[in-house]
Amino acid sequence: MPALLDARGLRKTYEGRVLLDGVDLGLERGTVTTVGGPSGGGKTTLLRILGLLVEPDGGQLLLDGTDVRTLVPHAVRRRVALVAQAPAMFPGTVLDNVRSGPRLASRDLDESAARELIVRAGLEPAFLGQDARALSGGEKLRVAVARALALRPEAWLLDEPTAALDDERTSVLVGLLRELAGEGAPVLVVTHDARVLEQLPARRLELVAGHLIEHAPGRRTS
């Protein structure tokens, strides 16, 4: 099956340092992929390129077989969820935040739908009325997941999503990621978290010296 999100020969240099040196990465529908590797090695940059926030110096990115350069960037971003490691919260309540994506596309999201989304992301319904900017890091992360869910994206990119979550919340999030893949979305997770690697069946990659290296099955990756 062709990959929904297909990166070919991505290159990126930053301040003379080669972060991506011809990276090929195909994310097929319904699959989970994890990316590890040394910190500062370009994993976040790779996610930001796949999320169209950063332009690669070279290479090509295809969405469903179409070069994204021929598509309208904001329309592509709506289809690809990017959850940052420390996601920014907009001023207002959790409900305002969860509604922000649909609102940008002039669609309304009713409160009961928003409540379902935050519960699915692992937050209690009581959070809906809280000031989003006053939440803890782990809570903000879950609001960001709910906010992205509201757009029903076709693909998911997450950057160290469990860094601020305890074991229980991590299991809930891993469960959600498996569900999303089960619904047919490709899921890419940048993570070092042993708990995630243990619980989440996935294709395991490492970004080392600008190249993605595949781990042999069964080999320990943490």
Binding site: G42, K43, T45, G51, L53, H74, R77, A88, L104
Partner: protein, 266 residues
């Protein structure tokens, strides 16, 4: 009524005022003496130079010289507005946009007023066109400078928030809407405050000048009102244009937030 002239010896007497300021600075050890002396000399040199230039332009009134002076005002205004903008693309890039914003704001506000409201006897009447254009263009310059400074600084400060909006499918316009509106508000605020307090706190310079030189107060007031409305209009037009330019400069053609000093890697 006739106007009261100031002779050169009388002008020299007024230097005594600067002596008072110097004495205060020395007495209180403010360390401002050097700047005060420099300022005394520079103010005199600059104003006499402008006076000389204006005398020349007034004496040989010609469209080319009048509009030459106004063109210099526009360019200097653009340059001043583009300088020292932190987190922006740099003075040289901004200069073109700032100059265009000042120029368009000036044309939109000045041409109709000279054509329909003030109606100078000669269409290039230097003693009307030059001082009034100067006031209007300098307000345009201040508005543009404020918008540039605010837009670039607040986008820089809230870059993660702007990129988060982009990630959710926002257009560049949607992603910085909040920042642009706040900047325009800040740019218009001083001029609007001027409207609200004029006459209560201080008499405006032009009105004072006209009254001192013998114009009837009711006429001076009418002139001043026209100017005040022009100041608001020019700040709006030039500020709105500057905001549009700043927004366009903040994103690449792939709708990515430009990083004038790159932020995150890793």
């Amino acid at each position: 009524m006739s106007y009261v002239s100031v002779s050169l010896p009388q002008l020299l007497l007024s230097l005594g005022l600067m002596a008072i300021a110097l004495a205060v600075s020395a007495q209180s050890r403010l360390g401002l003496e050097k700047d005060l002396l420099l300022g005394t000399v520079r103010a005199a040199v600059q104003l006499f130079a402008v006076g000389l230039l204006l005398t020349l332009v007034f004496r040989n009134q010609h469209p080319a010289s009048v509009f030459g002076v106004i063109a210099v005002m526009v360019a200097v205004g653009g340059w001043t507005a583009a300088r020292r903008i932190a987190h922006g693309p740099g003075t040289w890039v901004l200069f073109r946009y700032a100059t265009l914003a000042v120029l368009v704001g000036g044309v939109v506000v000045l041409v109709p007023v000279f054509a329909f409201v003030i109606r100078p006897p000669l269409w290039y009447e230097a003693r009307l066109l030059i001082p009034i254009s100067g006031m209007i263009l300098s307000n345009a310059m201040n508005g543009v400078a404020l918008v540039f400074e605010r837009v670039f600084a607040s986008i820089h400060q809230d870059a993660p928030g702007v990129e988060q909006l982009l990630s959710l499918g926002a257009t560049p316009k949607q992603a910085v809407d909040r920042h642009v509106r706040a900047a325009m508000n800040a740019a218009l605020r001083p001029t609007i405050n001027g409207l609200l307090t004029v006459g209560l706190v201080a008499l405006p310079g032009m009105m004072t000048g006209q009254i001192v030189s013998g114009t009837a107060p009711d006429q001076a007031v009418r002139y001043q009102l026209v100017i005040m409305y022009q100041l608001v209009a020019v700040a709006s037009v030039a500020g709105a244009l500057a905001a549009r330019f700043a927004r366009r400069l903040s994103f690449s053609d792939r709708e990515q937030l430009r990083t004038f000093a790159d932020r995150r890697v890793g």
